[in-house]
């Protein structure tokens, strides 16, 4: 029986949560710095050397500022929404391995009680030893051997939509409402391609358990990106949309909606929304890393013992930070989409592509073709999609909505 270790789990929670908060704080600084560099500015450089103490100053300011609760808001939901944002974003960290992990031992499936007894009779001692060995190794993740791993992450991740909807609605501000509507439509639309993109990976691993998926990649030495490049691209793009990052930040388009769903928020509650968003970023970066980039695995750096633990942690965190940096560079590279383009992309491009990709993966798996066949298929699909968009006749331009002077009785519909 796999044992539960309270001390280990409290320790892991402390480390992981603390580290993620730190990363969030400093990635905000990094965001500002990178933006500045890309725009030939200096960025924050007054608080501490190179502005390194800026996040701490920000944090203190958030706490000490006046906490305004406007008169017109729905108080309960207004107060609850930021908390939902931060809780749902953080709870997903439970199922993400952050350092060295080993998959839990699995008893072969027999389907019957008799079969299980027979197995125990034959392999009882060995089985016991394996389990004890597993119990003795420290797993660098909050909830190890969680079979539903990814399902849990996606489930909690999609709860984030509640924070945005409630925040926008309860603010009773037109900008907030529009922002939250757009954000929720966008999040639910991109959740489908995101979930479907990884189905191929899950199909090959035969498990939703993140430890197992990393272990598989480490064992073969081939990261999933080599086999599923299209899935990776789709997943990463969907993740951008899920996090409401540019070019998908329709929820808070500063030029048209002020701050989007958090227009009416200030102080710590505003900080919570941001914290949730950045935690989401961290979680999704970790996800991409462990799905497609081999998690803690790197060729030639596979040590045992304490050194192994340290190295694996470093590898994992480096990959994640590289991905966060990628987020930030993308932000200043691609301009924001229009809302119809955004929804069209989810429903008319991503979903069919992920479906076809899944079909291709399924065929390869079912007929036992060599895995490497998938790479050209995947890339071919990507190219075909690109070619298709060039060949297709351009969408007719939107006809401008004619201006009608509104009378008090006219129906006004918000878009």
């Amino acid at each position: 029986m796999i044992e539960y270790n309270l001390v280990a789990s409290i320790l892991t929670i402390a480390i992981v949560f603390g580290a993620v908060q730190g990363i969030c704080a400093y990635s905000i600084l990094a965001e500002r710095k990178i933006s500045a560099w890309l725009q030939e500015r200096l960025g924050p450089n007054r608080v501490g050397p190179l502005g390194l103490l800026q996040p701490i100053a920000d944090g203190v300011k958030f706490v000490l500022k006046e906490q305004v609760i406007p008169d017109h808001v729905d108080r309960v939901f207004y107060l609850v929404a930021p908390s939902i944002a931060v809780v749902t974003a953080s709870i997903a960290l439970c199922a993400v391995p952050v350092g060295r992990t080993t998959p839990a031992p699995v008893k072969p499936w027999t389907g019957t009680v008799a079969g299980e007894q027979q197995f125990l009779a034959q392999h009882g001692p060995e089985w016991k030893q394996t389990v004890e060995q597993y119990n003795d190794t420290y797993q660098f993740m909050i909830a190890p051997h969680l079979d539903i791993g990814f399902l849990f992450i996606f489930a909690t991740g999609s709860l984030a939509a509640y924070a945005i909807v409630l925040g926008g609605w309860s603010s009773n501000n037109k900008y907030s409402l529009l922002g939250s509507l757009r954000a929720s439509a966008q999040m639910i639309s991109y959740e489908i391609p995101m979930g479907m993109a990884i189905l191929g990976v899950v199909l090959f691993a035969g498990s939703l358990n993140p430890e197992k998926i990393i272990q598989d990649q480490a064992d073969s030495g081939m990261w999933n990106i080599f086999y599923h490049p299209l899935a990776c691209i789709l997943f990463v793009t969907a993740v951008f949309a899920e996090c409401n990052r540019l070019p998908f930040d329709l929820a808070e388009t500063e030029q048209e909606l002020v701050g989007g769903y958090h227009t009416e928020y200030s102080g710590m509650k505003f900080a919570f929304f941001f914290l949730g968003e950045y935690t989401h970023m961290v979680t999704t970066s970790l996800l991409v890393t462990l799905f497609f980039f081999g998690g803690w695995h790197f060729w030639g750096l596979n040590f045992d013992g304490f050194l192994g633990v340290v190295f694996k942690l470093i590898i994992f965190v480096t990959k994640m930070l590289a991905f966060i940096a990628f987020y930030m560079v993308i932000r200043w590279t691609i301009p924001r989409f229009r809302f119809d383009q955004l929804m069209g992309m989810a429903w008319k491009v991503f979903i069919p592509l992920t479906l076809i990709n899944l079909l291709a993966t399924l065929l390869v798996k079912h007929y036992g073709l060599p895995l490497l066949v998938l790479t050209p298929i995947s890339l071919g699909l990507l190219l075909a999609a690109g070619w298709f968009t060039l060949v297709l006749p351009p969408e007719p331009q939107r006809s401008p909505i004619p201006f009608r002077p509104t009378s008090p009785t006219a129906r006004t519909v918000m878009r």
Binding site: M1, I2, E3, Y4, S9, I13, F17, V63, K65, E66, Q67, P70, D71, H72, L79, P82, S83, V86, V87, S90, I91, C94, V106, W109, G111, I142, A143, H145, L146, D147, S171, N172, N173, K174, L177, A185, I188, E191, I192, G195, M196, L199, V202, L203, G206, S207, V258, G267, M268, F339, G344, W347, K348, L355, L358, L359, H366, V413, M414, R415
Partner: protein, 130 residues
């Protein structure tokens, strides 16, 4: 692996911690920070204009259609996950091998049905965002 509720203990622990964190984070700044209420500060912020009417307006039915469609596809995803996990683990050996082929074809039929629904929605203009 045997199912053990203890797998979920850390999640409950973390959840409890997070909820406490969130509550504290919401309440403490209110106690610490200053409170200077002015009428203008309490108004909805609409770029400096005085707001006209309430924000709880009717909005486009498209959002509703997207939500419905999302439900359809999400439920379909929920069916595909258990399949993806078990199809080639459970049904590749032992007594269940005979079901491997039928399951493959069933999933193809499932995806085809989904594709039909998808194309139908597309043709009916659900994805057309004016």
């Amino acid at each position: 692996m045997d199912f053990a509720l203890s797998t979920y203990y850390p999640i409950f622990l973390f959840l409890a911690f997070l909820i406490l964190f969130a509550i504290a984070g919401t309440i403490v700044p209110h106690l610490v920070g200053p409170q200077r209420i002015t009428p203008v500060k309490q108004m909805p912020y609409e770029s400096g204009m005085d707001p006209i009417g309430d924000a709880r307006k009717r909005y486009d039915v498209k959002f509703y259609l997207i939500a419905i469609l999302f439900l359809v596809f999400d439920v379909e995803l929920l069916f595909l996950y258990p399949w993806a996990v078990s199809a080639y683990e459970l049904f590749s050996e032992g007594a269940l091998t005979a079901l491997k082929e039928p399951i493959f074809w069933e999933v193809l039929v499932f995806l085809a049905t989904l594709a039909v629904a998808y194309l139908y929605a597309w043709r009916r203009g659900v994805f057309k965002w004016r």
